[in-house]
Amino acid sequence: MASILETRSLVKVYHADGVETPALRGVDLAVDAGEFVSIMGPSGCGKSTLLYLLGLLATPTEGTVRIDGRDVGILSDGERTRLRRRHIGYIFQRFNLLATLSAEENVALPLRLRGDRSGGAPREMLGAVGLEKKRRRRPNQLSVGEQQRVAIARALVTRPTVLLADEPTGNLDSEASDRVMDLVGRLHRDTGQAIVLITHNRQVADRADRLIRMHDGRFVDT
């Protein structure tokens, strides 16, 4: 099966006030279409940085990232944005819903940004995560677990090829965490997109098809 997501010798070095901080030291990753991969590692090992590069939110210092066979390094800023809209769904750490919008409006946002008429898709997706009746509520009127489910709905509303999840259960208790991961698993089975999920939590990581351990900017166990 062809890899939907691929990195080769990926290096990322941050520069700040004359200090260089290597975050990735040569990462090779291949994720097949429909595959669920989890990446575990301690804080500061480069997991989030890897996800930013996979999500085209940052550019590598060295190495390549390919999405659906396309080398994203040679793309213009506009092409990267279009590729991100079409292929990537992102669940941010801390959910990152827009506080001034309702749940439905938050879910509709990715569709609006790419110029699609949202139609019934946001409501349908909120239904899939069990929040249709709360679609008019603002984030501050939802529980932490509900906010995370809205974030999942937002990430999936565009039917992306790849879902990137940055610690999706990091702020949840164990019960809410299980519910969210059950949801992610169900949606993964229903929609079949590839998932790359980073986590500290072994129980969450074990839900994936493949577990990769990461340490100090490198994969140590794949």
Binding site: Y52, G55, L57, A58, D77, G78, T81, R84, R85, Y90, F92, N96, L98, A99, T100, L101, E105, L109, P110, R112, L113, R114, R154, A155, T158
Partner: protein, 359 residues
């Protein structure tokens, strides 16, 4: 959706920003409108059925009461091309709490200042201790036909109310004014001159000038009068400029603060697919909404301000032609968007990763 939601989420800041734009718009419209008061005075003075104004020889256009009216009238009417010379004795006269210029004229010359159908109530001057006032002064002071006004130790009866727009607001018989001022013989401050052929205005003017008098066409006098108020125009223009600049700075600071506050949100937007242009557009859209609301607020403040000014000073003029509202709206919108452009560009350029990490 998002721009509107964002500005509604911060009602106090939005209100301040809207007011800043609104006050700027209102100041521009009202202050510039006030300059029309000066233009209105100049217009009224030159709205006479005549072609020239003749003043005593002087470096300045001043109110003076020195010309021997009958002699000068005779000299002027002896100039080839002059049809008629109309003496005017102009003097300060307080009515409705403000100093007016009373126009002392011969009753038979009323036809040159206003046709009879410009008398709205009562009759024109006939002679004696009487006056005709214009409708605006009548409304401002609550004056009525038949009422008497006591000034200079005399009682003057209002015999007519004329349509606004004649040369002055108060007319009396020239001899009545002279008598009240205890002048010897009929005096005139200046003359209006009618020529037989409008095409001969230039040579007639030269001929009068050779007699040692200051002569202006009505158009020239209008320009002289209007230009004598240029200092006030400068002051008003400066105030308007400063007001506009302050509004621009308020918007710049407001939008800059908005962008800083929403650093993380901008990272989210980029993370879920917003392009730089879309982020730029979203910030400008918020500024645009503030500009729109500010323009509406400005128009309301203008109407209220104008009404208040005219209530407090009914003889003032605040003229605001419709095209000036459009100009004010364009300036406000342009200034607001200009003030928002730099913060919007900053937002568009923000690194999404740094934005997402921003606390």
């Amino acid at each position: 959706m998002l721009p509107l939601a964002n500005i509604l989420a911060r009602p106090l800041r939005t209100t301040v920003s809207v007011l800043a734009v609104g006050v700027g718009v209102a100041l521009f419209l009202v202050l510039v409108g006030l300059t029309s008061m000066l233009d209105e005075i100049a217009r009224r003075t030159t709205q006479v059925e005549a072609h020239l104004m003749v003043w005593p020889a002087s470096d300045q256009v001043v109110v003076s009461g020195g010309l021997p009216a009958e002699k000068v009238e005779k000299d002027l009417e002896a100039v080839p091309g002059v049809e008629h010379a109309i003496p005017v004795l102009r003097w300060p006269f307080k009515m409705a709490g403000r100093v007016q210029n009373v126009y002392g004229i011969r009753p038979e010359d009323w036809q040159y200042f206003a046709l009879d159908d410009q008398i709205l109530e009562g009759r024109p001057l006939e002679g004696g201790a009487e006056m005709v006032i214009d409708a605006r002064l009548a409304a401002a002071g609550g004056y009525r036909v038949g009422q008497t006004v006591e000034r200079w130790g005399h009682a003057f009866r209002i015999v007519g109310i004329a349509k606004e727009g004649v040369a002055g607001r108060v007319f009396m018989p020239i001899d009545t004014v002279g008598e009240a001022l205890q002048q010897t013989g009929r005096r005139a401050s200046f003359f209006y001159v009618r020529v037989t052929d409008p095409a001969s205005v230039a040579p007639v003017r030269e001929a009068i000038r050779e007699r040692g008098l200051n002569v202006f066409t009505l158009e020239e006098f209008y320009d002289v009068l209007a230009s004598s108020f240029v200092d006030m125009d400068l002051v008003i223009g400066s105030v308007v400029f400063v007001a506009g600049f302050v509004c621009f700075l308020v918007i710049l600071l407001t939008v800059y603060t908005m962008v800083i506050e929403r650093t993380r949100e901008i990272g989210i937007l980029k993370g879920i697919g917003a392009s730089r242009a879309q982020v730029f557009g979203l910030v400008l859209a918020e500024a645009g909404l503030i500009a729109g609301a500010g323009i509406v607020a400005g128009f309301l403040l203008t109407w209220g301000g104008k009404a208040l000014i005219l209530h407090l000073q009914p003889l003032w003029t605040v003229e605001i032609p419709p095209v000036r509202y459009l100009l004010a709206a364009l300036l406000a919108a342009g200034g607001t968007l200009l003030g928002a452009a730099q913060p919007a560009a900053r937002a568009a350029r923000q690194d999404p990763v740094e934005s997402l990490r921003y606390e």
